[in-house]
C-alpha cells in the first residue's frame, strides 16, 4: 500500500508544484492522475520515488517511510518500482537489450556494472520480457532505430525487468497516436490485472481514464481537487479540474 501524506514540493525558484497532497493507493489498483499540463502530475510521480526530493510530507510504502530512507534503502525501494516515461527515455545509442537490462541495475552489484556484466538469468529474463512486448527480434537493434510505439514497449519491458510491485507511468501515451496509445495502455492493464502490480498513471485523455483506471485523482495547480471513480467525473467536476474555459474533447 502506498500512502502519500501532506506532500508539498516547492522548487528552488519558488514555484509551488505540489501543495499538501494526500492520498492512499491500495495494492493492485490502477490509479489515473489527471490534470492540466503543469498541474504537478509529473512532480508527484517523481516525488514518490524521490527522483525529485519532496520539500515536505511523507511517502510511505508498505509501512516504510521512503522520504527518510537512506541511499541504500532508497535503492532497494526504487528497484521494486518501475517507471515509464512520456518520452520513453531510452539510451538511444545502446542496444534494446541493454536498455531492458538497465532495469536490473538496482539488483546488480555496481562493480559488475563497471565491466558491463549482467547475470545469465537477467539476460534470459530480458529476452523473455521483450518477447512479452513483442520485440524479441529487435533485441540487438539500437534503441533509436525503433519507432515511438516500439520504444515505449521497450520502456515497459525495462520497467518489468525490475519485477515491480508498482509502476509509475508519466503520461506514457502522450507522445503516441490513439491506436498506439491503446496498445500501450493494454500492456499496462495486463501488468496490472495479471501480475497484480499497482499502477499510477498520469493521463490526458478522459476516455483512457474511463477505460483503464479503477480510480482517478486530479491535480490543479498542485492541489488535489478530485479523488474518486472515473465515472464520477461529470461536467461540473470536469470544469473544476480543468478550469471554466475547458471543453471536453475525448
Amino acid at each position: 500500500m502506498l500512502q502519500v501524506e501532506h506532500l508539498t514540493k516547492v522548487y528552488e525558484n519558488g514555484t509551488v508544484a505540489l501543495e499538501d497532497v494526500s492520498f492512499t493507493v491500495p495494492d493492485g489498483q490502477f490509479l489515473a492522475i489527471i490534470g492540466l499540463s503543469g498541474s504537478g502530475k509529473s512532480t508527484l510521480l517523481r516525488c514518490i520515488n524521490r527522483l525529485i526530493e519532496p520539500t515536505e510530507g511523507r511517502i510511505i510504502w508498505n509501512g516504510e517511510d521512503i522520504t527518510a530512507a537512506s541511499q541504500e534503502d532508497l535503492r532497494r525501494f526504487r528497484r521494486r518500482v518501475g517507471m515509464v516515461f512520456q518520452h520513453f527515455n531510452l539510451v538511444h545509442r545502446s542496444k534494446v537489450l541493454t536498455n531492458v537490462l538497465a532495469g536490473r541495475l538496482g539488483y546488480t552489484n555496481p562493480a559488475m556494472s563497471l565491466i558491463n556484466r549482467f547475470s545469465k538469468d537477467d539476460v534470459s529474463t530480458a529476452l523473455a520480457q521483450l518477447e512479452r512486448v513483442g520485440l524479441r527480434e529487435k533485441a540487438y537493434s539500437r534503441a533509436d532505430e525503433l519507432s515511438g510505439g516500439q520504444q515505449q514497449r521497450v520502456g515497459i519491458a525495462r520497467a518489468l525487468m525490475q519485477n515491480p510491485e508498482m509502476i509509475l507511468a508519466d503520461e506514457p501515451v502522450a507522445s503516441l497516436d490513439p491506436v498506439l496509445a491503446h496498445s500501450i495502455m493494454r500492456y499496462l492493464e495486463a501488468i496490472n490485472q495479471d501480475d497484480g502490480v499497482t499502477v499510477l498513471c498520469s493521463l490526458h485523455f478522459l476516455d483512457l481514464v474511463h477505460k483503464y483506471s479503477d480510480r482517478a485523482i486530479a491535480l490543479n495547480e498542485g492541489k488535489l481537487v478530485f479523488d474518486g471513480l472515473p465515472s464520477e467525473i461529470d461536467d461540473m467536476k470536469f470544469k473544476e479540474i480543468y478550469g471554466q474555459e475547458a471543453e471536453r474533447v475525448g
Binding site: 541495475l105 539488483y107 552489484n109 547475470s119 525490475q162
Partner: protein
Amino acid sequence: MADIRERTDAELDTEPPSGPPPDKPDAARRRRRPFVIALGIVISVVIYALAFEHTQVDLTQITSETRQASLQRILRALAQPDLVTYDTREDVTEVEIAIPCGPEVTPNPNVVIEPSCGDPGDTVTITGSGFDPREFVELRFVPDTEFDITLRLASVNADSDGRFQVEVVLPDRTSDQVQSVRAVTNEPIGTWRNRVEVFTDANENGVEDDPILGEEGIHTFEVAGNPDVPAVALINPAGETTDFVTTGESFEAVAGVSRGQVAIPIDEERPDTGLRIIGIDAAGGDLSVTIEGPPGFDMSNWRAAAYDGATGEPGATTYISDTIRLSPRISETARITVDKILETVFLALVATTAGLLVAVPLSFIAARNIMRDISITVTNLVLILIAVPLGAGLGILAARAARGVVTPIADNTPALFGALALAAILAYLAARAALPTVEDHVPTRAERLRRALLLIVAGALGLVGLLVLSLLFQAIGTAARSALGWFGFIGSFFAALGEIFDVAFVVIAALATAGVFAQLASKLGYAIRSRMPRPVIRTLNVVLGGLAGALWAMLVGQVIDWFYQIGEFRTVVLIPAMVGAVVGVLIALRGMQKGEVKIGLSIYYAARTVFNTLRSIEPLVMAIVFVVWVGAGPFAGSLALALHTAAALAKLYSEQVESISTGPIEAVRATGANRLQTIIYSVVPQIVPPYISFTMYRWDINVRMSTILGFVGGGGIGSILQQNINLLQYRAAAVQMLAIAIVVATMDWASSRLRERYV
C-alpha cells in the same frame, strides 16, 4: 567614410515597414547619436594609430631594394627545398702569385692575375676563362704555411662565355716563396642530366678495370678482410642480395645488407641471376673473389660483401668494378626531416593519449549537470576533509612500505611472476567473495563488514599486483632492450611503462586509501547524525570544522613555504592553522543553516577554474618550464602538450557531458541504479562518440603545436627548423616547412574524416 555613412543612412530611411516595429529611441537619444558615433570613430582612429606605432608598420621596408632582394632569396630557397642531393667533384685551377714581388711566378693561361705580384693591401685583377657558362667560382688564397689552410678571396659567377673578372685585395701574408691562388669550382656529377660518372678505382684495389664484363665473362676482384670461413654476398644496384656463397657450411647472415639470408656452399646448385660467384680465394691477404656472367654485363654499382661463415657477422663491403653510376638521392636534410616529423607526430600522440587519460575522469567533475546535485551534510564534509589528507598520507606510507617489501625480489623474474599471479588470483577471489553478482537480500551488518574488509584486501592485493607488474616490466624491459636488437625500443617501452606504473602505484595507493577513509568518514558522519542529539552534532560540526580548516590551511602553508622558503614556524604553520580554523568554523556555522553544503558545485567551479587557467597558458610557455625540468627534447614537449591537452580536453568533454539528454539518466536512476551505474549506463553511451571526435580533433591540434615546440627546445621538427633558419639555410628550412605542411594537412583531413564517421 562619408560615402559609407550616406549609404547607411539611406538604407535606414528605406527600411521596409513590414519589419518588426523598431524600438523608438527618444528624441534626446537620437540627437546624441551622431556625437556618439563621431566619438567612436575618433577613439578607434587613436587605437589603430597606437597599434600601428607598436607593430612598427613600415611599408618602405617592404618596397626597399635590399629587402626585395632578401625576399627573393628566401622565396627562391623555399621553392627549392633541399630534398635530393647529388655528388659534386671539386675542380681546382691553381695560379702562382708572389707577395711581395720577388720570386719568379709561372703564369697559368686559364687564370691570370694582373699584376702577378704585389704588397699586402694591393688590389689585383683576376681574370678567368674556359670555365663552364655561369659556373660558380670560388677564389681562395693558399698561403705559404705548413698548415692546410686557405683564405677566401672572392666568389664570382662566370659569364655565358665561361669568363670572369674580379678585383681582389691581397692578404697580409708575405713570403719569400711563391704562393698561389686557387679557383675552385664544383662540378655536379650524378644529377639526372649527368648520371654516369667513372670513378677510377672505386673499389680501391689499385687497378683500373672496365665495368663491362669482357668476352670470357669472368671478373676477379678483392674484398678486404679474410675470415676463417669466408663467405661473400653479391649485391645488385638495388641493394638486393642476388648470390650468397660460403666455402664452409651454409649459415644465416645475422646483420648487414644480406641479414637473414642463407649462404649456400659455393659448389652447390643455385638459381642463375646474371652474375654469380664461382670462386673465393683466401690464399692472399684479402679475399679474392671471381665471378662469372654474360659477356657485356654492366657491373656498375654492383657490390660484394664479405661475411664470416662461422659467426654470420658481416665484414667489408666493396664495389666489384671501378665504375659506379651516381644518381640523385634523398638528401641528408630530407632524412633528418622525416625522422623529426615522425618524432613530432609521435610526440603529439603521446601527449594526446596522456592528456586523454587524465581528462576523461576529470571531465565528469567539471560537468555541471553531474556535480549540481551532489550535496553533503556539514558533519560528513568536515569528517571527509579531515579523513582525506590523513588517508592520502597513510596511503603513501603504505605504498613505500610495500615497495620496501617487494624490492628484494626485484631482480628475480620468476619470483616476480609468481608474486604477480598470486596477487592477481587472491585479489580476484577476494573481489568475487566481496561482490555478489545479484543483491537479493538486505545484507546483515556482519556481512557488510566482511564484504568491506574483503574489498579492501582485494584493493590492496590489486595494488601490490600493480607494483609487482611495474617491477616485472622494468626487469623484462631492461633485459629485452639489449636482447631484441632492432626492436630494443619495445623493451625500453615496457621499462618506461613499468616506471609509470611505479609512480601510478603510489598515486593510486594514496587516492584509494583517501577514498576508503572518506567512505569511513561518511559512514561515521551518518552514524553521528542519526544517533546524536542536535546540539551535540552542532558542537561537533563547529569543532571538527575548525580542525579541518586548520589542517588544510597548514597544508596550504606548506605549499607556500615550499615556494617562498620562509621556513618560519609561526608564519607557515601557526598563523595558517589559526586562520584556517576560523574559516572552518565560519563555514561550518554557515553550512549548518542550510543543512547541506553543495560540495559538488564547489568542486565544479574549482575544476573549471583550474582547467581554464591551464588552457590559457600556451603549450609553448609550458614547454619552457618542462625543458628546464626534464631537459630539452621531445619528452619535455610531450609533457607540456599533455598538460595543456588534459585541461583542454577535460573542458571540451565536460561540455559534452553537460549537453547530454537527461531523460535516460532519470530513467536509469529510477531503476535503483546508484551514481556509478547511472553514469555507466546512461551517460557514457551518450558521450563516447563526441569524446572520440574531440580526441581526434585534439590530436590534430597537437600535431600542429608540436611542430613549433622545438623552438623552445621541446623536441619535434621545430628545433631543426629553427636551427636552419638561424643558419640562413633556407633550402633546408624549406624541407621542414614542406614536411609540416604535408603532415598537418594530412592530419587535418584524416581527423575530419574520422570525426564525420563518429558523430
